[in-house]
């Protein structure tokens, strides 16, 4: 049974794509996306995309890395297996700064990358939009818009896209799995 339809259309100009996105949103279609080989300025506003949580994820990863790195060194060298280096204070923390710094950077970076993967839904090797042969231009030069709609409304959206100047308008139905 068909559950969701994707309606795709290609535009020649960024401005036309952004205008079409705004128009479709006015008509009440919220699940829109744009596809382009380089980021389109203003796409987030036109599509109503919220702020990215990546900076927050990076901050949490960095704090965890820094605190964890410090705690690891303290626990290992002072609590669990005390190492006396030439009679110096056990908790001579300046010597732990380099490693705590490295774990901060490491955890922050790993959180950023896997946060990006999680937010973008990677890896997802197949996606309904890939069913459209012409969509292959989206990573090269093409500017595409995709709308995720109920099957009943798909034809209306396709018509609207054509009216807004889209070419290669096509529809992909996702079967229920």
């Amino acid at each position: 049974m068909t559950t969701t339809s994707y309606v795709l259309g290609e535009f020649q100009e960024e401005a036309a794509l952004l205008g079409a996105a705004r128009r479709l949103r006015e008509l009440g279609h919220a699940r829109l996306d744009a596809h382009s080989p380089v980021p389109i300025h203003g796409a987030e506003e036109a599509l109503g995309i919220k702020r990215s949580p990546v900076p927050l994820i990076a901050l949490l990863g960095g704090v965890a890395g820094g605190a964890g790195g410090f705690a690891m060194q303290y626990w290992m060298n002072v609590v669990d297996y005390p190492i006396n280096v030439a009679g110096r204070a056990m908790t001579s923390w300046p010597a732990w700064v380099p490693i705590a710094f490295e774990t901060t950077v490491l955890l922050a970076s790993v959180s950023i990358v896997f946060g990006l993967f999680g937010l973008a839904g990677f890896p997802r090797l197949h996606h309904p939009v890939f069913e459209v042969e012409a969509f292959r231009s989206a990573s090269v030069a093409g500017l595409w818009i995709s709308a995720e709609v109920e099957p009943a409304r798909a034809e209306a959206v396709a018509e609207e896209l054509r009216r807004l100047g889209a070419s290669n308008v096509s529809r992909v139905d996702e079967e229920d799995r």
């Binding site: 996306d33 744009a34 596809h35 382009s36 080989p37 380089v38 980021p39 389109i40 796409a43 987030e44 599509l47 995309i49 990215s52 990546v54 900076p55 990076a58 960095g62 690891m72 060194q73 290992m76 060298n77 669990d80 297996y81 190492i83 280096v85 001579s92 010597a95 732990w96 380099p98 490693i99 710094f101 490295e102 774990t103 950077v105 490491l106 922050a108 970076s109 790993v110 950023i112 990358v113 946060g115 990006l116 993967f117 937010l119 973008a120 839904g121 990677f122 890896p123 997802r124 090797l125 197949h126 996606h127 939009v129 890939f130 292959r136 231009s137 989206a138 990573s139 090269v140 030069a141």
Partner: protein
């Protein structure tokens, strides 16, 4: 005179902007065709020739590594008092080379330098492969590399933990973090290009292979939103990271009490030296590669000239480091320091290496005061090789001369590398070359998605500046 030729005329006359960062305004499709043209295709004879040489040298490397592991590191020339020699020289040399890649990709991104765009992929690949070579040396120098996992803090049956107050352990964390973060940064940067390769691949096998690595990139506005922030933040993290890595490498020396090592100038001076040698290596590699691939319109004379300027600047920072080291040795009034700098290094048994270092690192970069030298491919390439040699001799001088004559004359001894030392060093050059040639064949060496963005930015700028560029004549 109409407005159009007047603008062109002025553009040519602008002394501050002689060569563009992108020649012409190729369309997206043209850029992909050019930049991906040779990716995954059957390479030419030159590639096979170079690959044969590099593979042969890599064979020497793995032969020597096998011999070292089976026999023990007694097959190397280092022994007390020179306990560190080729292994640490090569480690520091390779790590330093890697640093230019991060500088180009991260620091120049934060400074919004447009000329970084077409060389960053290339330089980052160089970083990864250089760090791989670097990691081999300390791993082997432990003597029993099959126990190297002891370096990491893991709950072992021995019930003990590493000593985190040791600079050598700081190194383990710094270099491994550096490698992992560089790899992630490079891979994230590749995603849009991998998707473009997937979508323009002709064979099913290529489409599958690039498709798997592209992870399902659809160029969606949501992807781009997260991606741009992620990339910028990674650059922001890689910037202090790269400075920390060579700082920590320099701590291996500076934290000890040996004359010639025990100095606070080491961290900045090591970082400057790393960037100096790294830019030299980028030039060594990029000058032939852009010719073979026909990338002269995206990696233009401007890029080469800017790299020469960076080498001139960092070369002078390195020279200043040398000067200050010598000044402190004299002004500090410590006999051992004075003897190390003014007797052992300058006139001791390794003096020819010292003077070669001075010639390569202090004198060579000054050729780049001349514009004609910065614009000559031959001069650039030869100078880049000399700087690579010079930076290797610098590490030789720092490590070997300080160790072979320290405090007690009774413990002085000479160091000579063995054929195994040379085999491993030359072998890493071959292994590095092998990886680099594979990279050139299977991965787009210039980031197409970033050049597309650059072209849009340049278009935008030209649009904004066009009316102002034509003088208003009464």
């Amino acid at each position: 005179m109409s407005a159009e030729p007047a603008a062109k005329h002025l553009e040519r006359l602008d002394p501050l902007d002689p060569v563009p960062v992108l020649v012409g305004r190729p369309s997206d499709v043209e850029l992909d065709r050019q930049l991906f043209g040779k990716v995954g295709q059957k390479p030419g004879k030159a590639w096979y020739g170079l690959m044969t040489v590099c593979l042969a040298l890599a064979g020497v490397l793995f032969g020597c590594l096998g011999y070292t592991v089976v026999t023990g590191i007694g097959v190397w020339g280092n022994n007390i008092p020179v306990g560190w020699a080729f292994d640490i020289i090569n480690f520091v040399w390779w790590i330093g080379i890697g640093h230019a890649g991060t500088l180009i990709s991260a620091i120049l991104l934060l400074f919004q330098q447009k000329w970084r765009t077409s060389i960053n992929r290339f330089a980052e690949a160089m970083t990864l492969f250089a760090v791989m070579q670097a990691l081999l040396f300390p791993a082997l120098h432990t003597g029993r590399p099959w126990f190297d996992y002891w370096l990491f803090p893991y709950p072992s049956s021995l019930a003990l933990w590493p000593n985190f107050k040791s600079p050598l352990l700081w190194d383990v964390f710094a270099v491994n973090t550096y490698f992992l973060v560089s790899l992630l940064f490079w891979y994230v940067g590749l995603l849009p290009d991998l998707a473009a390769l997937r979508d323009s691949a002709r064979s099913r096998a290529a489409r599958m292979a690039y498709g798997v690595f592209a992870l399902g990139w659809r160029g969606s506005a949501r992807h781009w939103q997260h991606y741009r922030i992620a990339y910028l933040l990674l650059a922001g993290l890689a910037t202090p990271l790269v400075l920390s890595v060579h700082t920590i490498v320099s701590f291996d020396f500076a934290v000890s009490v040996l004359p010639g090592w025990h100095t606070t100038i080491f961290p900045p001076y090591f970082v400057a030296g790393a960037i100096f040698s790294g830019f030299a290596m980028v030039l060594t590699l990029v000058i032939p590669a852009r010719k073979v691939f026909g990338f002269e319109n995206v990696i233009t004379g401007r890029h080469l000239e800017n790299m020469a300027k960076v080498m001139l600047a960092t070369g002078m920072m390195v020279s200043y480091g040398y000067l200050m080291e010598h000044f402190h040795a004299w002004y500090g009034g410590n006999h051992y320091e004075f003897d190390t700098f003014f007797k052992t290094r300058m006139f001791g048994p390794y003096a020819p290496v010292y003077w070669l270092m001075i010639a390569c690192n202090v004198i060579t970069p000054h050729i780049f005061w001349w514009k004609r030298a910065r614009q000559s491919l031959v001069v650039l390439w030869v100078a880049s090789i000399l700087v690579n040699v010079g930076m290797w001799t610098e590490r030789f001088i720092i490590i070997v001369t300080s160790l072979h004559r320290d405090y007690l004359p009774s413990s002085w001894a000479m160091y000579y590398p063995t054929w195994v030392d040379w085999g491993i060093y030359v072998g890493t050059l071959g292994f590095f070359g092998t990886l680099f040639l594979l990279f050139l064949r299977f991965v787009p060496a210039v980031s197409a998605s970033e050049v597309k963005e650059l072209r849009r930015e340049l278009d935008h700028e030209a649009h904004a500046q066009a009316p102002a560029a034509v003088p208003h004549l009464p």
